[in-house]
Symmetry: C2
Subunit: 85 residues, 2 copies
C-alpha cells in the first residue's frame, strides 16, 4: 500500500475516535456547561452527510469512518442534553 493510503487510514482513525476523550470526560464528570452543543449538531450533520456521500460513491473507508463518527458524536450530543442544567 502507498504512503498516502497509510496516511489516509491514520487520518480516518484519528478523526473517527476524536470524540472519545470528550465522551469519557463527560461520562465521569456529568458536567457539560462549557461544552458547545452547537458544535456537535454541526459535526453530526457534517459526518452524516459524508456517510451519505460515501454510500453514493460506494467508498467503504468514508462510510465506515464517518458512520462511526456520526454514532460517537450523537452519543456526545445525548450526554449534553442529559447533563445540561
Amino acid at each position: 500500500m502507498k504512503v498516502a493510503e497509510w496516511i489516509g487510514i491514520l487520518a480516518g482513525i484519528f478523526t473517527t475516535i476524536a470524540a472519545m476523550p470528550q465522551i469519557i470526560k463527560v461520562w465521569k464528570s456529568k458536567k457539560v456547561d462549557d461544552v458547545s452543543w452547537g458544535m456537535f449538531c454541526i459535526l453530526i450533520l457534517g459526518v452524516f452527510l459524508w456517510t451519505v456521500y460515501g454510500i453514493i460513491k460506494e467508498d467503504y473507508p468514508i462510510i465506515i469512518t464517518n458512520g462511526i463518527s456520526t454514532i460517537l458524536n450523537s452519543i456526545m450530543l445525548a450526554l449534553i442534553i442529559k447533563y445540561r442544567k
Copy 2:
C-alpha cells in the same frame, strides 16, 4: 454538478466550521473545565493528516476543508490551554 458533489461540499463545509460554536462559547465564557483537550489534540492530528493526504493526492477540496479545520481546532486548543485552571 452531480448530487454527490453537492453533498460532499455541504459535508465539507459543516465539518470544517463545526469548531466555531465551541470557540465562540469559550471566547465569551473564558471557561473550559468541561471541554476535553484530548479530543482537540486527536482531532488536530487527524485533520492535519487529511491535509497531508490531500496534498499528496493533489485533492484541493480535501486540502482546503481539512486545512481550515486544522487552524480552527488549533485555535480551540490554544484557548483551552489559555483558560485551563
